[in-house]
């Protein structure tokens, strides 16, 4: 037994021809191209989703612990928590009366317990109502809170929240939020309050812009019935994510939509570009097959 590999059966002359053919057939990759294309798509979506979720979670942790990002981290964290709290608060709103005691415990000195939570909560809860809403109704009712918040941040920024809280219902909201914010007692509150203004804009921006995946989904959804609309979405995708993770998928869909619209010259041109850019892509076979099918 040497360590040298024996000549493969396929290449020795003595092997029966049928066996050679069989071995070659077994190794053929193209019969799986449709499957691979399918799985690539799923995988791309999954990985993209994971990446989105993963980073969010990671940054969440970071912010919560505040290890690296410090102040801003805390602030962003509060924003995130706030959003969550907002969601939760929907459920807890009904039991409005209950909340009173809890806040009181926290801020014994504060005359209006409800107000306290409000300061923190309102900001995150209503990302859509930014500075304006706060500024106008700054200090109205809450004394308990102001002291804390005001200490670090100019009164207006923090105080605004209360306006919302002033209403009877708000009291509940805080409870939801606070549950999660626990780690940040009165002392930290200042830190949280200040940063919020900054964090909001970011959150809003990301919320307003559909993700790469969302865009592609949107295009795909309308591709069959409204190819023109799909093309517009695809163009937007191309502008925003020129070399995104799903760029190949976008190109494939674009080519297919162009064909559907009868713009075969454009489709062919794109296909050529696609070949250059992704010479090994598993989509190539499908695209070429479809091309030849439509030619006939």
């Amino acid at each position: 037994m040497t360590d040298e590999d024996p000549p493969p059966l396929k290449s020795t002359g003595e092997t029966p021809a049928e066996l050679v053919r069989a071995l070659r057939a077994l190794g053929q990759g193209d019969r799986d191209s449709a499957r691979l294309a399918r799985v690539a798509e799923r995988l791309g979506a999954r990985v993209a989703a994971e990446a989105a979720g993963g980073t969010a979670a990671a940054s969440w942790l970071h912010r919560l612990t505040g290890t690296k990002t410090g102040l801003t981290g805390l602030v962003l964290g509060v924003a995130v928590l706030g959003a969550l709290g907002y969601a939760l608060s929907a459920d807890r709103r009904d039991p409005a009366p209950a909340p009173d005691p809890a806040p009181a415990a926290e801020i014994p000195a504060a005359p209006t317990p409800a107000a306290v939570p409000a300061t923190r909560v309102p900001v995150p809860a209503s990302p859509s109502e930014p500075a304006q809403s706060r500024a106008p109704r700054p200090a109205p009712a809450h004394r308990g809170e102001r002291p804390r918040v005001v200490a670090r941040s100019p009164a207006p920024a923090v105080a605004p929240a209360p306006a919302v809280a002033a209403a009877p219902a708000p009291a509940t909201e805080p409870s939801g939020v606070e549950a999660q914010v626990e780690p940040t007692p009165a002392s930290t509150s200042s830190a949280q309050v200040q940063p919020q203004p900054q964090s909001k804009p970011r959150d809003e921006a990301s919320a307003a812009q559909p993700s790469e995946l969302t865009l592609l989904h949107r295009a795909r959804k309308v591709a069959a019935k409204q190819p023109e609309a799909a093309l517009r979405v695809l163009r937007e995708h191309a502008e925003r994510f020129p070399s995104g993770l799903l760029a190949p998928e976008r190109e494939v869909l674009t080519i297919e939509v162009l064909r559907r619209l009868g713009r075969s010259a454009e489709a062919a041109q794109r296909l050529e570009q696609f070949k250059l850019r992704h010479p090994k892509s598993i989509y190539l076979r499908r695209l070429e097959h479809e091309a030849s099918a439509s030619d006939n």
């Binding site: 360590d3 024996p6 029966p16 049928e18 070659r24 799923r42 990446a51 993770l245």
Partner: protein, 180 residues
């Protein structure tokens, strides 16, 4: 320095690499899963599973030349996990539904060759089949195969010899049968 590399950036850089691996070795992974007895119906899921593992471990993926050995060992684990999950003790359900699976692109003689290939390979015990297929079909060097299978090189050689003897005997038997 490294701190400036945000998670987003990492996420953006990894998938491209993942895509390369997928494009280059996707069909190999697909075939490997079949060799390992995965049914056609489960192939999509397991294929995805394998590449999710690849995605998580891309950082291990340094020895480019050994990519297939690495991928095959992932396939092995994924396929075994699946088999355990299904509680299927039988060695394999290779090709149980392969007959209905050939794509429309396949030419007839190709299909026949493929069917013959599967039939022959299926007669081998799993351990021999793996070596045989990786060597004779996938053209992997024996040293890489031994790595993929996590067995000594000599073991891989002896399995190959046994497998070849069986296969050749079977082909001869079939030829004789056809003549008579």
């Amino acid at each position: 320095m490294t701190g400036t590399r945000g998670p987003l950036e990492l996420a953006a850089s990894l998938p491209r690499q993942l895509r390369e691996v997928f494009d280059e070795h996707g069909s190999f992974v697909c075939r490997s899963l079949r060799y390992l007895g995965v049914r056609e119906a489960d192939l999509d899921d397991l294929l995805q599973e394998v590449f999710l593992v690849v995605h998580q471990r891309l950082c291990d993926y340094q020895e480019k030349g050994r990519a297939r050995a690495w991928l095959y060992s992932i396939c092995t684990r994924v396929a075994h996990a699946q088999r355990r999950k299904l509680g299927r003790r039988r060695e394999s359900a290779l090709l149980a539904d392969e007959a209905e699976a050939p794509t429309q692109l396949e030419r007839v003689e190709n299909r026949q060759a493929l069917e013959l290939g599967w039939r022959l390979v299926q007669q081998l015990p799993q351990a021999q089949r793996e070596v045989f297929v990786l060597y004779e079909v996938e053209d992997m060097p024996m040293s890489e195969i031994a790595q993929a299978l996590n067995c000594p090189l000599q073991t891989a050689y002896s399995r190959l010899h046994q497998a070849r003897a069986r296969i050749l005997a079977e082909v001869q038997r079939m030829a004789a049968e056809a003549k008579s």
